[in-house]
Amino acid sequence: MMSEIYTSLAGLVCFSPLIGALIAGFFAKRIGAFGAQFMTILCVAIAFASALVLFNYMYIEETRVFNYSLYTWIAMPGITFEVGFWLDRLSVGMMLVVTAVSLLVHIYSMGYMKGDPGIQRFFAYVSFFTFAMLMLVGGNNLLQVFFGWEGVGVASYLLIGFWFHKDSAANGAFKAFVVNRVGDFGFLLAMGLFVTYVGSLNFSDIFHRIPDLAAVSLGGMPLIDWICMLLFIGAMGKSAQMPLHIWLPESMEGPTPISALIHAATMVTAGVYLLVRLSPLFEFSPMIRSWILVIGATGGLILGMIAIVNHDIKRVVAYSTLSQLGYMMAAVGASAYGLAMFHLITHAFFKALLFLAAGAVIVAAHHEQDMRKFGGLIHSIPLVGVVFAIGSMSLMAVPLFSGFYSKDAIIAAIGATSLPGAHYAYYCLLMGVMVTSIYSVRAFYLTFLGQPRSNIHIHELSNTIKWPLIILAIPSMGLGYVLAPMAGNLHWFGEAIFYTHQSVTDLAGINGHLNHPGSMAMDAINSAPFILMLLSSFATYWIYRYSWAEKISKIFAPIQCLLENKWYFDWLVEQLLVPFVWIFSRAFNRVGDQLLIDQLMVMGPAKLLESFSLRIKAHISGHLYHYAILMLLGTAVLISKVVMI
């Protein structure tokens, strides 16, 4: 009885966005712009409500893991691929976040996309995006996760390139797609290893076989290290870790609601979610976790620094996402999976808020994104200013705001862990706090304070834009406080997350703090992150207040050059990788595509048939009785074949 309820609820959560997407996509002409909006929002709202009910079962009524396979997709000897749901506290919590953010983004898009000719297409894509992410989150096997993973990739490609007539949008979409493929390759290889050594892609089978996997060695390295490395490469692509982060800033070419969705709920969180989901594997691979820690922390620092010199309001927020993803990854590396999810959830809300607020600024300023042209907007759009400030403070980890709890806990967890590289990661992330404060204050100052720097006629904002901002501002402020005691419990995701004994002892100290959110905020006042944050915020404020930015940038010219070129990551890729890829692609295109496929395989049979037909054409008389003879002969051959057996 309960299992039926779970199955139907999970089905509702996952498939109603798909239905919305199909309706909006295929009946676009018939139902019109409003119909498409209404249907998709209704479907996502149903998904959200179902996720709420599931949340109630999982968290309030303390239900255990629920594993149900819905449909056998491929059955082969030795291996079966299924579609099914794996419901536990982790996946249901994630579903709730995804549907909540998606619902708000849908509503916000009504205002943001008003008057766009492709509005039905837009809503269909967004709903499909949500569906793919939900399939990824709810899947009970890696193949389904991979399906969602790729679905998310496709949807992001379509949405980043939504305004495909703009070259930059088309290129950004292409870049996002290609860079993600690199990561997906790692994921695919990891799945191959699972198929070979486990013989199944179901989570239940994989988790049972972990001790065996840990015992096997492959090429001088334990098999589990290989698997974790490949999975991490997959997550690097999707969650934009160095050096596969280069697609994320380009994704800013899409409509702003999409940026919010990609950054908050449906795409970049997928990698983190995957690692948390497979925590039992990573717990047995301290070496890879160490790498995750180092890469995440490095990204958290240096990618955030790029935001300091960027002038595009959306890109600043995008780089801040890169930095925050670094924090989440570092938390995964430090075995603090619960904290990684905690930060993922708080980040989902305040980052969605920041993006939607940035989008509101952009709408108000008639699609101007350059912060140098803003200034003093707090007087004309006070609501957006206030919510942007709330989001920024949450991002900067101002005590009592939701970002504070998750971020400080992560920093403390990394300080407490004993993995190699933990010290380096700890200082990286501490510096990261400073960097975050600098760019957040800078973005806020440039946009909302000071004097207007150009004549921007402010466009009126509709209610569908305002309300999601107000709704998102509430969790951005208070969610951390509410969730902190839960996050303080190592097992707040129930059995979904596995800890080794070592991790439990490392993390024990942090959780005591989180259990008392009020006193944690008080204690933070004399902690290093808070002091760094405070100092750098005020310093930034004064720098811009007295216009010292020019002078300072002259002093730090080399660093500025480095940052403005994004640490030369893109340059390196373009100089080192792209030429090779270009040569190979061209060769494959010539030989493989044009010669082998086009000429031989596609045109070959056609040409053969054509020459054959031309030859026998002369012998066709067109008389009925000749056709009758041929038919008779054919029938005779057929019958003799049957009779003579």
Partner: protein
């Protein structure tokens, strides 16, 4: 020799069938003659059905013949109508001259 059995009827209908085939394939006359030869072929098949049904004591063969008769009547009717149309269009129903499908 004087005991008439199933094989005799089968031989008869086989000969009739071949007769019809020769008419269709080799006696190149006109469309109407062609249709008559088709009738011969159908008649041979009907005879076969009836003989086998008779030999096995099963009426299903006769039921099949009934259906074949009905369908053949329908086919003849439509075929003749088409011939009338062909005649109207080209003033002849000569098989030798109907070669629009010639390559």
């Amino acid at each position: 020799m004087f005991e008439v059995g199933l094989l005799h009827y089968m031989a008869l209908s086989g000969l009739l069938f071949v007769m019809g085939l020769i008419g269709i394939v080799l006696a190149r006359k006109n469309l109407i003659a062609l249709l008559m030869c088709v009738e011969l072929v159908l008649l041979s098949v009907n005879t076969l059905f009836i003989s086998i049904g008779h030999a096995w004591g099963d009426l299903t063969g006769q039921v099949m013949v009934l259906f074949i008769l009905a369908v053949a009547a329908a086919e003849t009717g439509i075929g003749l109508a088409i011939f009338v149309l062909i005649y109207r269009a080209s003033d002849q129903v000569d098989l030798e001259k109907l070669d629009l499908l010639k390559g």
